[in-house]
């Protein structure tokens, strides 16, 4: 456990090195969120609001999504893991008396937390300062606490899916195609392009049960006030369920794979 903790710390410190990059990405996220919100404003302006979400709920959703975007990102951010499989240095990792699944899972979590930590607060401050309908609204202590709990679960699910995807690297030599498809699928079904309440009703009900909805959709919908009461409890239950299933699956797949791994490179 201690070794995982220090591994986590090393990754965090590593990510906090580049401040100028962080400043640039805060600005990018801010502009991106603003454009998204203006697009939804146009859509809501055009009809009375028969959508599954109100405009101000959507605005909060988008602000939080753009703030936490690196944390909810399933596909990108684990260059070291990819490089270690590609150049063969995975052999060293295997020689260490650490479980590789635990090792990768920890790295995946840290790789997402550290950039979020520097991007998060400044972008949130800007979002709170916006004029009324575009503002990020604060939903109260209870909802925020629920949001944080759900975010932690979401991060776990994201990490579990990411490790599963990294395991496929043992079978393919070029990862690009898998990543492009993965990026499209995980983002779309997690409400990355369009929040799930905007989906057609019947289709949306099915999508909500998928593991992708257990990533960013659940915490963001809880924060924006679109998901409350029993529905929120059910969605968080699903998060726990998917975290357990995906982690078990990943652990099993990893041990199966490592029995027959061929190390590339010298």
């Amino acid at each position: 456990m201690k070794s995982y903790l220090s591994l986590f710390r090393i990754r965090m410190i590593n990510g906090l090195q580049y401040r100028a990059v962080a400043l640039g990405s805060i600005f990018t996220r801010f502009c991106w969120a603003l454009m998204e919100i203006l697009a939804f404003f146009a859509v809501h302006r055009s009809n009375g609001g028969s959508f599954g979400m109100t405009f101000s709920q959507t605005a909060s959703y988008i602000w939080m999504q753009q703030t936490f975007i690196l944390m909810y990102n399933v596909i990108d951010g684990d260059q070291e893991i990819e490089a270690s499989v590609n150049d063969g240095s995975i052999a060293y990792e295997l020689a260490r008396p650490m479980n590789l699944y635990g090792n990768w899972f920890t790295q995946c979590l840290a790789n997402r937390l550290s950039p979020t930590a520097i991007n998060c607060l400044p972008a949130l401050l800007l979002a709170l300062l916006m004029p009324a309908p575009y503002r990020l609204s604060f939903p109260g202590i209870m909802t925020t606490a629920l949001f944080l709990a759900s975010t932690i679960l979401a991060l776990g699910v994201v990490g579990a899916i990411a490790v599963l995807m990294h395991i496929t690297m043992f079978y393919t030599t070029s990862q690009r195609g898998v990543k492009i498809i993965g990026r499209a699928v995980t983002s779309f079904f997690a409400g990355g392009l369009l929040p799930l309440p905007y989906f057609p009703k019947a289709f949306g009900r099915i999508v909500r049960l998928l593991p992708f909805a257990a990533t960013q959709s659940t915490p963001l919908l809880i924060y924006s006030g679109s998901l409350t009461g029993a529905d929120a409890a059910f969605a968080m239950g699903l998060q726990v369920f998917w975290l357990a299933v995906l982690a078990a699956l990943g652990y099993y797949a990893m041990s199966r794979t490592l029995n027959r791994v061929v190390v590339q490179g010298g």
Partner: protein
Amino acid sequence: MKFYVRLFSLNSKSQMQYKFSFFLSCLGQFITAFTSFFSIRFIFLQIDTVDEFTYGQVLLCFSVIMLSFSIGEAVGGGLASFPRMVNVGEFDRIMTRPRSLILQVIIPFFDFTRVGLLVQGAIVLALALPLSGVVWTASKIIGLVLMIVCGAVLFFCLFMFQAAFAFFTMNSLDFLNIFTYGARQFGRYPFSVYGKRILGFLTFCIPLALIQYYPLLFLVDESSHPAYMFLPCLSLIFIVPCWALFRFGIRRYKSAGS
């Protein structure tokens, strides 16, 4: 010239080496574009118009941006790895060769997998052509072609613009992504829906609206003034500052490599 053709075919061969991965990448591009299409479709299942623009007209917008982006990125997307080239000193090697600098950077990175995006753009365009309710006369077809072609050039310029900054910062400037990948994302609606100020910015600073919003007005008969049809050509002026920035960067380039 022969040299560049050679370089080009070498690149295509190397990309085809991993056939399965190449196919998966194309498929991935296709699916990516498909998900953005659905995010429009789902909205229009519940409303009829966004700011008086109908579903077909928005699709027209979306497909034009998609097509010009995919052409522009297939050619210029490789420039995204230009900052890294400068950073590790690989650009020094290129400068020692007696060939065009920019072509040497572009050709090895020409991305054939963008075909997936292109196909999707073409499908949506085919869907949008009848749905948009536009009566396709000769002048309208010319307008549409100009939108796509000038758009492709503009997107290429934006990638070059972004790459040129690497001469000064030695690193990539992510915030300029908002004009490339962001424009693809937000260009699905006519730029006027984002408000007057943003439309103004996209007309006079980064002329993205010239290839999308104004010619669209001409296509849907909002404006019959034929000047609107040729506005995409005006956006080509953007080549000048991009090229100048790139030249200026090369002039004061200091090697960063070891």
